[in-house]
């Protein structure tokens, strides 16, 4: 397969220019765009003003909201219209049945939509990909059918007589579209601000990490479930807001206003524009909302419809009939030819275009780690509790449907040791790691970290409690830079909440800064500081291993679990690795290492446990292990008869 050359189009040039702008410059551009959007409203021919409000502006709000879910968190939501409906119905019920002021109903609309998001999300977000898509689709239909069959919601007739909001800032909200358009532009600006803020915080990093490798993200301390739920709730609230705006402008809603294909149209807007990219999504929503309306009103419209009739054999005069079909077609075509969208976001483009890793740069040998950065790591290993045993497994048993992967294994890892775990393939070594890090929950026994039991806790909680790991087959976030990878790890120790990141609270800013500094220091510590800005999948193999170690240390563990870190390394790389591991230990961490290279293990470890068929058959210092008869038996076979 040929490697795609990056094409430097206008979009790329703009993106580069944008990336180089200082923050105030970017802000200025944003304000300019906002003013332009407001001005455009007044300047436009009154005939188009209504189109500008609906569908254009409303679709933009919806697309921005859906973009949080699909574009940022990478979850396919096919029932997004449900939240729009919830928002609209909430507004309708509160203003008509309960006679609330429409403005007072606004927070209710957003709140109820958010609530709906949480109600749907809480049980279903454990599902992935396809299942989630179909469940959300079902949810969208449930909401519509419920509205259709509930008399309090007007059943099929819907609710009419929804009052317009009272005047604000000289804008009178009646039938005229312009004031609503202004309102919607304000909402869009607000939404963009929220998304930009989040995207640059640990929340955005967490979403990116989830998109790339959800399991690895969880193990690096990302509370994946919570982060996904936030994305869902925030996307939902945008839908609720749009619903409120729509209901108060139109004054009348019924279930037919929220069909399934509206979800798909919004999705098309997001995909067409470019998932994850704000300008892209706005452009996409604009295209999808505006183009059909435009064609409908110009003379070319009917002739295009006639032209299409040739292919379909239909007898359609209104081009709008073709709308959904063309959007469907657009989705297919886009996925084949330009999956990243019209105005892609840089990182998402990389994810969506090639599954094949580029050839790594030829130069492989990492520069020897500089001595001084050892102090930095010592500082990072914050946990210096007095307990002499860091990690303790007591009679741990793990079964998979009758197959015993680990049985009655007890291991104690002393602080500041390099502890080796060896054993033939299938002996249960990685299972042990998985039990410690919470991927599996052992059927029996207890695991204590710094004296506290961690059995049954979620992986990200265990990571936060001080056990971080690397993976046998490298699991970095391939399309994020080395620095971002490590920062995801560093976020495990941070406490910024989503609202905190949103408001840019002092703690958030402090943590962002220290996180970045620490991540930089760690990259230098493992010897790949020069590669901080490189995308992880382009790093040479040895550097990827180092990066994984740096990411794990960044979570601030008291014990570091390395799963075959030397696999696939050449002798000189292995020597450098041994040094690195010693340095990590000297900086105050405890290291548990699974490794097959006996020379490496014997030379490096202070103490070794040997597993065979899920049982611990020996434990002790390397010299003892080397002469242990059971170990020799496990590796070389039992001495039968004369042998």
């Amino acid at each position: 397969m040929k490697v795609r050359r990056p094409r430097l189009g206008v979009a790329d040039a703009v993106r580069r220019w944008w990336a180089r702008l200082p923050w105030w410059g970017q802000g200025l551009v944003g304000v300019a765009a906002f003013v332009a959007a407001i001005a455009a409203g007044a300047g436009v021919n009154p005939k188009w003003q209504s189109v500008l409000f609906f569908p254009v502006a409303v679709y933009v709000v919806l697309a921005l909201g859906l973009n949080i879910v699909v574009g940022l968190a990478g979850m396919l939501d096919l029932g997004y219209v449900a939240f729009y409906a919830v928002g609209a119905y909430t507004a309708a019920v509160f203003t008509t049945t309960l006679h609330w002021n429409p403005w007072a109903a606004l927070p209710m609309s957003i709140g109820f939509a958010m609530l709906a998001g949480v109600i749907l999300g809480a049980p279903t977000l454990r599902l992935r990909g396809d299942y989630l898509a179909i469940v959300t689709l079902g949810f969208g239909e449930i909401v519509r059918i419920v509205a259709q069959n509930t008399n309090a919601l007007g059943a099929t007739r819907g609710i009419s007589g929804i009052p317009h909001p009272s005047s604000v800032a000289g804008q009178h909200f009646r039938f005229d579209s312009l004031p609503y358009y202004y309102l919607t532009v304000v909402a869009i600006a607000f939404g963009v601000l929220v998304v930009v803020r989040l995207n640059r915080s640990r929340v955005g990093r967490a979403w990116a990490a989830i998109r790339e490798d959800e399991d690895a993200a969880e193990l690096m301390g990302v509370p994946t479930f919570g982060m996904k739920l936030w994305a869902f709730a925030m996307g939902a609230s945008a839908g609720g807001l749009a619903g409120w705006i729509y209901a108060s402008k139109v004054g009348f809603i019924n279930p037919d206003g929220f069909p399934f294909f509206l979800s798909v149209i919004i999705l098309a807007a997001v995909v067409l524009g470019g998932m994850g990219s704000i300008p892209g999504v706005i452009a996409g929503a604009f295209a999808i909302a505006f183009v059909p309306e435009y064609l409908r009103n110009v003379t070319a419209g009917p002739s295009i419809a006639k032209f299409l009739n040739h292919f379909t054999g239909g007898h359609v005069t209104d081009i709008a009939e073709y709308r959904v079909m063309l959007f469907g077609l657009a989705l297919v075509v886009m996925m084949i030819f330009r999956p990243q969208g019209i105005l892609p976001s840089g990182q998402r483009a990389a994810e969506l275009t090639d599954g094949e890793p580029d050839a790594p740069p030829a130069e492989a040998a990492p520069p020897p780690p500089s001595g001084e950065s050892g102090a930095a790591a010592a500082e990072l290993a914050g946990a210096t509790e007095a307990a002499p045993i860091v990690l303790e497994l007591e009679h741990v048993t793990m079964e998979f449907g009758g197959v015993v992967a680990m049985s009655d294994v007890s291991v104690s890892v002393p602080r500041h040791h390099i502890f080796g775990i060896i054993g033939p393939n299938g002996a249960g070594k990685t299972t042990l790691f998985n039990c410690v890090t919470g991927v599996f929950h052992p059927g029996d026994g207890d695991i204590r970290l710094n004296g506290a039991s961690i059995v049954g806790r979620k992986p990200h909680e265990i990571t936060a409690a001080g056990a971080a790991r690397t993976f046998q087959n490298i699991r970095l976030f391939p399309n994020m830079t080395a620095l971002q990878n490590v920062m995801v790890g560093a976020d495990a120790r941070h406490h910024t909440s989503v609202p905190g990141a949103l408001l840019g609270l002092p703690r958030h800013r402090r943590e962002e800064r220290t996180g970045r500094d620490e991540a930089m220091r760690l990259l230098q510590f493992v010897g790949i500081g020069a590669r901080a800005g490189h995308v992880a999948r382009n790093l040479p193999y040895g550097d990827q291993r180092r990066l994984e170690i740096a990411r794990a240390i960044a979570t601030g563990p008291s014990v570091l679990l390395l799963d075959e870190p030397a696999a696939g390394m050449n002798p000189s790389e292995k020597r450098a690795l041994v040094e690195l591991i010693r340095k990590i230990r000297d900086s105050g961490l405890t290291v548990v290492i699974i490794e097959h290279d006996m020379g490496l293990v014997m030379g490096l470890c202070d103490r070794i446990a040997v597993l065979d068929f899920g049982k611990k058959i020996a434990e002790g210092p390397p010299t003892e292990i080397q002469s242990d008869s059971r170990v020799i038996e496990a590796y070389l076979g039992a001495p039968t008869g004369a042998a």
């Binding site: 397969m1 294909f261 999956p339």
Partner: protein
């Protein structure tokens, strides 16, 4: 039976083919046109004896061929480029939705959005009554056909050489390829099989409900998916069990709550199954489902 098609395609590709419901819809339409073509119009007397069998077979074959062809074309045009590029799952899903909409709207525009009647080919007589339920000829036909197809598919996947290829691909495409399985062919064949089944299902649906419409595939599609999930997706016999279970649950649910909640009920079942037993009643994996 649609569930069977779903299960097959999903089992091999780990891909939910949203467009499957449209393949089904095409089956309904194709069989309808086949009826028109051989002169069966609404009002024509129902056939009997050999004529009936002949008509049924012919119509079913046409439906199957149409659906199968559509499925294969779909695979070649839309999915293969994605597969070659190793695209993420999201891309497949979006493509599937796109295809689904395109086909649906195409039929809507071409044949109108209203319901078309499917002529009656089979005299609907009550054969016998069991526990207050009428067992009609058309019901017997549907059940017998579903069982026969399921058995045939089960045998095929478990026994034949291509079936082995399908199972191998389901478990590990790369290894299968290295072992000399032509993945492209297997995937295409899977789509073809799924399409054929959907076509047969479509034909039966047309005969049973005597109606065709552009969006006819949507609800059966989702329900079939629910059934496939309920029985354990990727598991051929599970699909049948799931289908029967869902049918029973749905009718029971609507008897208790009222008919208008019927569809809500099946969605709820879907959500519950996914939450509490995501592998379904009979477990996942096409590879492990042995005869």
């Amino acid at each position: 039976m649609i569930a069977l098609g779903y299960t097959l395609v999903y089992g091999v590709l780990r891909l939910i083919n949203f467009a499957h419901s449209e393949i089904f819809m095409i089956g309904v339409f194709a069989s309808l046109f086949a009826m028109h073509a051989i002169g069966i119009e609404p009002g024509t007397a129902a056939k009997t004896g050999f004529a009936l069998v002949g008509v049924l077979v012919l119509v079913t074959v046409v439906g199957m061929v149409a659906s199968g062809t559509t499925a294969v074309v779909m695979e070649r045009v839309a999915y293969r480029p994605l597969r070659k590029r190793n695209a993420p799952r999201l891309a497949f899903l979006i493509t599937a939705i796109g295809i689904s909409l395109t086909l649906q709207e195409f039929f809507a525009i071409r044949y109108g959005r209203n319901q078309l009647g499917v002529p009656r080919v089979l005299a609907k007589k009550t054969l016998f009554v069991v526990g207050g339920a009428d067992i009609r000829t058309d019901k017997v036909l549907v059940i017998v056909a579903a069982l026969a197809l399921m058995l045939a598919l089960d045998r095929f996947v478990a026994r034949s050489r291509l079936g082995r290829g399908i199972r191998a691909t389901a478990q590990d495409p790369e290894t299968a390829q290295l072992m000399g399985v032509n993945i492209d062919r297997v995937v295409m064949l899977t789509f073809l099989l799924g399409g054929l089944l959907a076509g047969a299902a479509g034909t039966l649906y047309g005969i049973f409900f005597e109606a065709a419409r552009y969006n006819i595939g949507f609800l059966p599609g989702i329900k079939a998916f629910t059934a496939a999930v309920l029985g354990g997706i990727g598991n051929i016999r599970g699909a049948l069990v799931g289908g029967i279970m869902l049918g029973l649950l749905e009718n029971y649910g609507s008897a208790v709550l009222g008919v208008q909640w019927k569809d809500v009920f099946s969605f709820t079942v879907l959500v519950l199954v996914l939450l509490f037993r995501p592998t379904g009643l009979l477990g996942e994996s096409l590879g492990r489902a042995r005869a």
